[in-house]
C-alpha cells in the first residue's frame, strides 16, 4: 500500500523551477525524512502534498486520492504541522480545538474526549482555557500539534515540527510518532539531521528541486 505517490511533479514560481520532474513513492507506515537546504523545494513539495499548492505538471496522490481532483478527501486524511501555529490568539486552546473539530466534522463528545486525552498527553491541560496569545511559543506549538492530531490523520506532514519545542515536548511528540508508526505515515522535514536520522526510517534529499539522494536512513551520509 502506498501512502504518497508522486509522478513527474514540476512546480515553478515564475521562471524559477522549485520542483523539476520529481517522482517517488512513500509506503504506508513509518517515518520518512525530507532533507534539503533552504530553497531545495521541501516546503513547496509539502504544500503540494497538503493540497495548498497546485502542481504545474505531474500528479500527486495521497492514499489513492489525487491532490488536485479530490483535495477534500486528501485533507480528511492528513495532519499538518508547520513552523507557525494555526491558532487564533483571542480564543482559548479549547475553543481553538473545538473550532477545528467542527471543521473536521467530529462529534462533540468524541472531540471533547479527544481534546482532553491529547491535552493530557501533551501536558497542556491546565492551559486549555487560557487565550493562546498569552502562551509561550512552545505551548502554542503543542496546541498546534494537538490540532493536527484531532481527526486521527493517516498521514502526518511535519515541517520542522520540533522547532520551538522544549526537550520534554519533543520527547512526547516523538513518543506519539513512535506509537503510531506501524499504521500511520509521517513525513518530516528538518534541518536537524541528527534528530531526523534518529526518528526516520528512510530519507529523500532534495537539491534545487531535484532528488539527489534516497534510501534507508542507514545509508544517509549527512550530505545535503
Amino acid at each position: 500500500m502506498i501512502s504518497i505517490q508522486v509522478e513527474g511533479l514540476t512546480r515553478r514560481y515564475g521562471y524559477r523551477v522549485a520542483l523539476n520532474d520529481i517522482s517517488f513513492d512513500v509506503p504506508v507506515g513509518g517515518v520518512h525524512a525530507l532533507f534539503g537546504n533552504n530553497g531545495a523545494g521541501k516546503t513547496t513539495l509539502m504544500r503540494i502534498i497538503s493540497t495548498l499548492l497546485q502542481p504545474h505538471a505531474g500528479k500527486v496522490a495521497v492514499l489513492g486520492f489525487d491532490t488536485k481532483e479530490d483535495p477534500i478527501e486528501v485533507r480528511k486524511r492528513i495532519g499538518v504541522v508547520g513552523d507557525k501555529p494555526l491558532l487564533y490568539g483571542e480564543l482559548t486552546g479549547r475553543e481553538n480545538l473545538n473550532f477545528y473539530s467542527d471543521l473536521y466534522d467530529l462529534e462533540s463528545y468524541t472531540a471533547s474526549a479527544s481534546i482532553e486525552d491529547l491535552a493530557e498527553q501533551f501536558d497542556v491541560k491546565r492551559w486549555l482555557d487560557e487565550p493562546t496569545k498569552i502562551l509561550s511559543t512552545g505551548l502554542r506549538k503543542r496546541f498546534d500539534i494537538i490540532r493536527s492530531l484531532l481527526h486521527s490523520p493517516d498521514l502526518f506532514l511535519l515541517d520542522e515540527p520540533f522547532s520551538g519545542l522544549d526537550k520534554d515536548s519533543t520527547q512526547v511528540f516523538r513518543d506519539y510518532i513512535e506509537e503510531k508508526r506501524q499504521d500511520r505515515t509521517a513525513i518530516v522535514t528538518t534541518h536537524n539531521l541528527s534528530l531526523g536520522s534518529e526518528i526516520c526510517d528512510d530519507f529523500i534529499t532534495l537539491r534545487k528541486g531535484e532528488i539527489v539522494g534516497q534510501g534507508p536512513i542507514s545509508e544517509f551520509d549527512g550530505n545535503i
Binding site: 497538503s50 493540497t51 495548498l52 499548492l53 497546485q54 483535495p71 477534500i72 478527501e73 485533507r75 480528511k76 492528513i78 499538518v80 508547520g82 507557525k84 501555529p85 494555526l86 491558532l87 487564533y88 490568539g89 483571542e90 480564543l91 475553543e95 473550532f99 477545528y100 467542527d102 471543521l103 473536521y104 466534522d105 487565550p131 490540532r147
Partner: protein, 240 residues
Amino acid sequence: MGSGLSYALAIAKKDLVTQMRKRFEAFSMFLFAIIAVFVLGLVLSSATFIVPDPETRLIVMTEIGAGMLWVVVFFTGMFGFSPVFISESETGTLKGLSLAPIPAWSVYLGKVIYGFILMGLVELFLVPISMGLLGFTFAADVSPIFILATFCLGTLDLAAVGAMASALTMPAESKATVYPIVYFPTATTALILLVEITRMLAIGIPLVGPGIVDLLIILSGHVFAMVTLSATVFHFTLTS
C-alpha cells in the same frame, strides 16, 4: 457529515467571538460611525440653512441624509471588514482553513455571515442616530418590511462584496491601498441602488418611474450574483 452551511456558521461564530474579544477594534468601528454621522449632521444642518423654506429644507436634508447614511455604512464596513481575510493571511490561520476538509465556498460564506452580523449590529445603532443627526425619517406610508428588506439586502451585499475584496487583496503588498480600489467599484452598483431606495423610503414613493419593489428586485439580483459568483471562484484565493 456536516454541510457547507454548518462550516460557514462555525467560521462566522469564531470570527464574532474573536472580534468581540478585540474590544478596541469593535469599539473603534462604532466610534468611527458615530463621529462620521455627527460631523456630517453638523455640515448638513449648517449647509441647508441657505434654503429659506423650512419644508424644502427638510426635503433637501432628507434626500442628502439618505445618501450620507449609506456613505457612513460603506466606510464603516470598509474600516471593520477589510481585515477579515487579510488578518487571517498575516497570522497564518488562513492555512488552517485551507487545510480543513470543507468546501472553499463555506469559508467565504462564513465571512459574509460574520460581516453581515457585524455591520448589522453597527446599523442598529447607526440608523436611529442618523435619523436624529442627519434629519431624515421614513415616510409614514412605507411598510416597515421594505425598510427591513432594504437594510438586510444592502448589508448582505456590502458584506458579500467586502469579503471577496478582502480575499482578492490578500496577495497584494500594499493591501491598505488595494482594498478600497477593489471594494469601491464592486460596491458602487449596490450603493447607488441603496441610496435611491432609502431616499424613496424617506420622502415617499414617486408616482412615475421604478418603485421600491422594482429596485429591491434589482438589488436582490445583485446580491445573488455577488454571492454565487464569489463563492464559485473563491477556491482560487485559497490555493495557488
